[in-house]
Subunit: 290 residues, 2 copies
Amino acid sequence: MALASRGVPVLDRLMQVLEAFDLNSPSLTLTQISQRAHMPMATVHRLTADLEEHGLLERLPDRSYRIGVRLWELACLAPGALGLRELAMPHLQDVHATIRQHTQLGILQDREVLFLERLSAPDAVINMTLVGGRVPLNASSSGLVLLAHASPALQEEVLTSSLPRFTDRTITAAPELRRVLASVRQEGYAAGVGYVNLEATGIAVPVWGPNEVVIAALGVVVPSTTQRLQPIVSVLQSAAANISKALRATHLPAGHAGADDGGRYRGMISASLGSLELSGKDTGAPSGSG
Amino acid sequence: MALASRGVPVLDRLMQVLEAFDLNSPSLTLTQISQRAHMPMATVHRLTADLEEHGLLERLPDRSYRIGVRLWELACLAPGALGLRELAMPHLQDVHATIRQHTQLGILQDREVLFLERLSAPDAVINMTLVGGRVPLNASSSGLVLLAHASPALQEEVLTSSLPRFTDRTITAAPELRRVLASVRQEGYAAGVGYVNLEATGIAVPVWGPNEVVIAALGVVVPSTTQRLQPIVSVLQSAAANISKALRATHLPAGHAGADDGGRYRGMISASLGSLELSGKDTGAPSGSG
DNA sequence: TGGTCGATTCCATTGAAAGGAATAACTCAT
DNA sequence: ATGAGTTATTCCTTTCAATGGAATCGACCA
């Protein structure tokens, strides 16, 4: 009887509606949503009405929909990523003030870099990344930093999967990537010329959290004509160290207690900021371990 | 039979779960959520599991939940408020670099100020506001600016409702508020000493969008001991003007076209950034105007 | 080892959600 | 004006996703 969505949980459908929006189509008509979400008009109509009721969608005068601010408000409660962002902000500003180029903070999410913040320069080179946007791990210096310090499991997973290409400088060969990752660990930073765009060179350093875990990558994007990268690396490393310090300062007072109790808090932090294996669903579940 | 939530739409319940989180309790156990959302454990358990599936909730090692990054990612697609934030950022940084105090950008949402961004200073006075946080309109200089330029309907609504008090300086009397609003319109800025906290003085100016509509308030929070406010006002006004200019520059190319076509785009912008009458549900619908 | 508390699973019941169809509203043609 | 085409909204019956009480599991502590 061609009931496309019969038997599909509501939340799934709601997410389909929300995910119909993207950066290229920030506002959509009912019909467009219905097409993109593969659902009947009547259904979408009710769902959007419900979402609007809760402020998760907004309606424009031309009757089209867009993502609402309420969603952003809720999102601001996410302490993990946004806490880190808040805390790192002043240091991003320091870097930005010194280098005067795109400065960005990224974390590992699924198998990509998710950029939490980006300070731009009006006269800077083009930069694909956007706040809230994602980039493959192999195609950005931030990604290389995060991957280099990620769990061996994730590294293998990425190394054995097909690596997307943006320019002919993008690293797509597993052996080369393996070499680069080793170098990143060795040198303490990643510098990539033209991975995403030939005009742009990315430089990134790891941000260490407690427990010897890398929780983020701090990076800049400069014109590929830039000669001396070492001074930039120093600025980044210094800022990253300050972020780490701020992290430690923030987390200890919260838990305080004795030495034996601190482990719980540290676990929470590291596991949440670098939550990888949480989403086991899209890894394809390589083998049954349970 | 005490079926508390029988007959309540799923989205309502999902929102109840998400809204159980706040800044003071960024992570909650199942039991806590169940209490705060007034729902049986079994129900909450399934809801949280669903939400986690979609990344809207994250689970920590200690089995407690928190808001997930996915929510923030979706929120980043909201072009209205976040577009404004992105665009205003560099100018916020200018102000922050000059004044070296809390610098914030707020918009009108429901009957409150919603802060889109805040740049802080480590040595600055305390400041209640947080990114993503709200403050009543009568209790902050940003709120006064927004209210002063809001629709007469909203102004009346606020003036005739009970006004929350934070300190004995907070304006809670309608006649006084009316006078202050007139002054804000007259002078082009609002300055409030100790509305929220006696130690802090807020100064805010309107950010004008196209169509002679105020779409945001740009403000700083300085120590109440600060003597000369006029220089600060100048800095703010200049930055606000630059934001307005950037707004115009961004929106015209999108629509371009002739003068007769621009109206559509302008309508979208103003209505979305300062969406007030959209949410007619909580205004109680004073009278049928259409 | 038994008791308390939180999390999880089970499952019979049921009303919220679905979506086809009819209707309304809004363009643009001619 | 008129009518064809497109998009949005309302109606209404069917039905399965969601509910939540109860049972079970598991962790922690005394």
